[in-house]
Amino acid sequence: MSELNETIHQPIRLRIMAALVTLASDEEMDFTTLRKLLEVTDGNLGAHLRKLEEAGYIAVTKTFVERKPRTYVAVTPAGRQVFNQHVAALEKILKRK
């Protein structure tokens, strides 16, 4: 059943999830690219990513690319499912208008 998700509904987290679900299921986005897309600060993005990671909606991978530290973020299958349910719930509310 589709229902609203309080963790996802927060505006920045909603945009984070929208950006990540746009990627294919085997793709992950670089932290810097995500920050530029959202136009937020490092600290702000980091805080929201932690919330989503704690909820199990995203996975954060820290790695090295050409000896430089790089952080990648991907939506988990559970995150994708919850996001789709959230969107369905929003559409349902809109239909009642």
């Binding site: 509904h9 793709e27 670089d30 969107v87």
Partner: protein, 190 residues
């Protein structure tokens, strides 16, 4: 959790615009820019081949090819999508680069074998090698792109064998123009 219909509408708008922005930023990966750059080069180069003297045309093509190579390198470097696939080898990019390098070496070798080529033969050989690379990339990354490569190859061959007097102008308008239109279409679609 309860929200009003107008809040729901606002949230859906935010999601839709974020999806669109993300697609623009990472999904097209700037590939359309290659089409626009090389389409413009073909348009100018082949139109010159049709209407100008051979001595001038050689210099124009040399200038255009250098410009195209520089612009392609700049686009390629700036094309960092910021996205990686966990199922694709990180070596893929390097292998693709090596493939194009080898393809150009093979193209140069084929031209050397038939040297001295007729200007039209030279153009057709380069087109065939470029299209081979395009189709190979299409089979690897996007089948739709491969089908466009096949269509351009068929067009070039038809013009070369059936309408040799109009070969250059057909390649300028339909080949170069077609690439520009395709590039703009991909840009607008995303």
């Amino acid at each position: 959790m309860n929200i009003s219909p107008s809040e729901a509408e606002q949230a859906l708008d935010v999601i839709q615009s974020m999806v669109k922005k993300t697609r623009r930023a990472v999904s097209t990966s700037g590939a359309y820019l290659f089409l626009i750059v090389w389409g413009t080069i073909w348009l100018i180069g082949f139109a010159s081949s049709q209407f100008l003297a051979d001595a001038v045309v050689g210099k124009i093509w040399a200038g255009l090819d250098i410009l195209g190579a520089v612009l392609s390198a700049i686009i390629g470097i700036r094309m960092n999508r910021g996205v990686r696939s966990t199922s694709v080898s990180p070596l893929l990019g390097k292998r693709i680069g090596l493939f194009w390098l080898l393809l150009w070496v093979f193209c140069a070798a084929a031209i050397a074998v038939i040297w001295p080529p007729e200007p039209k033969q030279l153009a057709m050989i380069i087109i065939l090698f470029v299209m081979t690379g395009w189709i190979a990339m299409g089979l690897l990354l996007s089948l739709m792109s491969a089908s466009w490569g096949l269509a351009f190859t068929a067009l070039a061959l038809a013009a070369y064998f059936l309408l040799p007097d109009f070969f250059y102008i057909i390649m300028a308008i339909l080949g170069g123009g077609g690439m520009i239109v395709l590039g703009l279409y991909i840009r607008s679609r995303w």
